[in-house]
Amino acid sequence: MSNPIIYYVTLLAVYGAVYAMACAGLSLEFGVTGVINFGYIIFQAAGAYTAAVLTLGPSSSSDFQHYIGGARWPFPLPLIAAAVVGAALSAGVAVLGIRRLRSDYLAIVLLVASLIATTVATNATRLVGGAAGLALVPHPLVSLFNNNAQGVGYNVAFAVGAAVLAALCLLIVHRITESPYGRRLRALRENELAAEAQGISTFRMHLVVVMVGGAMAGLSGGILVQYISAWAPSGWFYPETFVFFTALIVGGMANNWGALLGAILVPLGIGEGVRYLPTIGSATLTTALQWIVIGLLPLVIFWFRPQGIIPERRRRFAGAPRAGTPVVDRSLVNGAELTASSRGRS
């Protein structure tokens, strides 16, 4: 393979790893626990911003870009900070929102929070660089590779590093899901009131889950920004959150293989795959057709696999009655319904 091909393959690998990390976190929040976090992309953006400014160095007034909190921290501190910021922001959201709001209203509040964040980031040019964002973010550890960020060695190493971190995130989610703690989380998802009645502290569990999920989002953002070396509010606009949800639902909820498959299939496979469609008519028409395919493919997959390609493993105690037919199977996405729950009481 020629060098450009290797870059491209490693680029797809890095993107795949970043998406897998984000999907792992979201799978824990939404798939396992049933928190509908429509503002998930904020935490990735915040992590990305953190990692960017902590490697860019202090902002100088003569520079073309302006931002706050600039520093030049060595690897891996910026990435750790990205995860910490993601977790801390999520904790703030949990404290403000989760305890009080029913799940669909929380979803809407997080969605508008995402829009507010984008608007503020775009307008407050001195805060995070405005619409143009940040550019020329240094690549981590590139000095070990003769400062050649485009070299084959560096790109392969970056992709392997990202993949290892993604695997780690998936492993963490797996361990949580399979532990007794995971059983309590699923109980929470299925019926919060009943879980509470069993003595499960719903708030503390939600808090832990969104912090872990937020940390994974932040970390994924940090890795992405250090790879593409640029950050702009438009790159993390609210529709991106729905891309991750689509990935989870298409791949299959509440299991690692589903999250991984969804991450590879939806943003990467469909989003980038359509660029291989032949050019038809004008450039605008070709673009429109690509987007039509992006819209249609999840519908097609959904039609054949309403529970996702890899459905959640059905857990039964020995001797328990078999679950019903798939059509009325309530164990799958049921806990993530949009309305109702016990939180609505004011």
């Binding site: 491209y8 143009a132 993390w236 605008t284 673009t287 690509q290």
Partner: protein, 436 residues
């Protein structure tokens, strides 16, 4: 029950194989592109632009210019026997999506020899990528980042954002306006000129009556318009996306009973912008009030007449809309610069021909001035050194490969072309620029 299971197994097999096929398509496409041979094959120019998303109108505009140059070069035998080919690359208006798209075109396009674009929304991520791959690009961004940071393969013949802001205010002052209303949409395509406007207002002692960043896509801008009116601004400057500008100016007209002169970078003939504003305030008012301040380009002579003739012959929707469009003309010139540099370098290899771009663009002793690709090709064949002076006027690339040419002020000449009103010379811009 058994039957049901088998159906489900079949379906899961189907969908997984479907997924696998999709992935194979991706990988196969990569491998296939790499495997193809490269004997006298076509040379590709990536047209990196937003074809979808917030600034989707930029895509067809840039592509039209690229296709025009492609048609002329190919009908004159190509570049050393190679044909040219423009490859549209959709950045989807965001950095996260544009990086894989640009890397894909770099990796899977054989004989990728140059690029036009990218624009402001994605330049900070895409320019380093193209630069590292040694692909010369003529960027469509005014970001000041690139006047401070040197990229070897970066070239820019459109004006930097700060000088655009200066040009607005210089022209407004020359028209006798003393109070300027700065109104712009808060995104990366439109925010850039703001510091220039503020600096020029201070340097030229013009009052900045109001400084309004407006949110795009609102149902109305009535409250904003009232604030503009009460500030007693005499002219509106600043870039808005077509829909926002249309809604804003209509609200202005409805509420105050009259319009104000409006200056922005959009070409007066650019179809999306023109369509939106003509539909909103009417053609007569659009001609009367709207002034496009854009990189100066010629409207006659050999360069223009060949461009015009070729554009009109293109097989694209409504080609005449691009005749006077400076953002279609710029990419046209860009492709010519690259093609002529290849001829002068006797090489299609980007690392070999790139140093010749500056030589082809800048004046020099004993250079033969040419205005079109065929003229240039003939002159080079006759053993001359050349300087290409295309549709853009006053292009001189500095050490950042950046050119601050003069600005032209134009208005719409209905139905679909523009007519010149005046000019803001590069000397004037430079003198105001030095005051702050």
């Amino acid at each position: 029950m058994v039957r049901r299971t088998s159906v489900r197994t079949f379906r899961s097999a189907l969908s997984i194989s479907f997924a696998a096929a999709l992935l194979c398509g991706v990988v196969g496409g990569v491998a296939g592109a790499a495997a193809r041979s490269s004997a006298k094959s076509a040379l590709s120019i990536a047209s990196v632009q937003t074809f979808s998303g917030a600034t989707s109108s930029f895509g067809p505009e840039q592509n039209a210019g690229c296709l025009t140059a492609e048609a002329i070069i190919n009908s004159h035998g190509g570049v050393m026997g190679h044909h040219m080919r423009c490859v549209p690359v959709d950045t989807r208006s965001d950095v996260v999506d544009s990086v894989p798209a640009v890397q894909k075109v770099i990796s899977t396009t054989k004989n990728l020899v140059g690029a036009v674009g990218p624009s402001s929304t994605t330049a900070s991520a895409d320019v380093p990528l193209l630069n590292a791959a040694h692909i010369p690009m003529f960027a469509d961004t005014g970001q000041t980042e690139f006047t401070k940071k040197f990229f070897k393969y970066f070239y820019r013949i459109i004006a930097a954002d700060d000088s655009v802001g200066l040009a607005y205010v210089i022209w407004a002052k020359e028209q006798g306006f003393k109070r300027i209303g700065l109104v712009y949409v808060n995104n990366s395509s439109n925010q850039g000129a703001v510091p220039g406007v503020k600096a020029a207002a201070k340097a030229l002692h013009v009052t900045l009556a109001v400084d309004q960043a407006v949110a795009p896509d609102q149902t109305s801008y009535n409250s904003e318009v009232l604030a503009l009116q009460s500030s007693r601004a005499q002219v509106i400057v600043g870039t808005m996306d077509p829909q926002t500008a249309a809604t804003y100016l209509t609200d202005l007209k409805n509420l105050t009973g009259s319009l104000l002169p409006y200056y922005s970078e959009h070409s007066a003939a650019e179809p999306v912008f023109k369509g939106a504003l003509e539909g909103a305030i009417g053609t007569t008012a659009f001609v009367k009030y709207y002034r496009s301040i854009h990189p100066a380009s010629v409207v006659g002579g050999a360069a223009f007449s060949l461009y015009k003739k070729t554009v009109l012959g293109l097989n694209i929707p409504d080609p005449k809309q691009w005749i006077n469009d400076p953002y279609a003309q710029g990419p046209y010139d860009a492709v010519n610069y690259m093609a002529l540099a290849m001829l002068e370098a006797h090489s299609i290899t980007p690392t070999k021909y790139a140093p010749f771009i500056v030589s082809v663009a800048n004046p020099g002793n004993g250079k033969k001035v040419v205005h079109t690709f065929p003229q240039g090709a003939a002159a080079i064949a006759a053993g001359h050194k050349i300087r290409y002076v295309g549709i853009y006027q006053g292009v001189v690339l500095n050490r950042f490969h950046d050119s601050t040419g003069g600005f032209a002020v134009t208005k719409l000449a209905p139905p679909a072309t523009t007519s010149p009103i005046g000019a803001v010379s590069s000397a004037k811009v430079a003198s105001v620029s030095s005051k702050h």
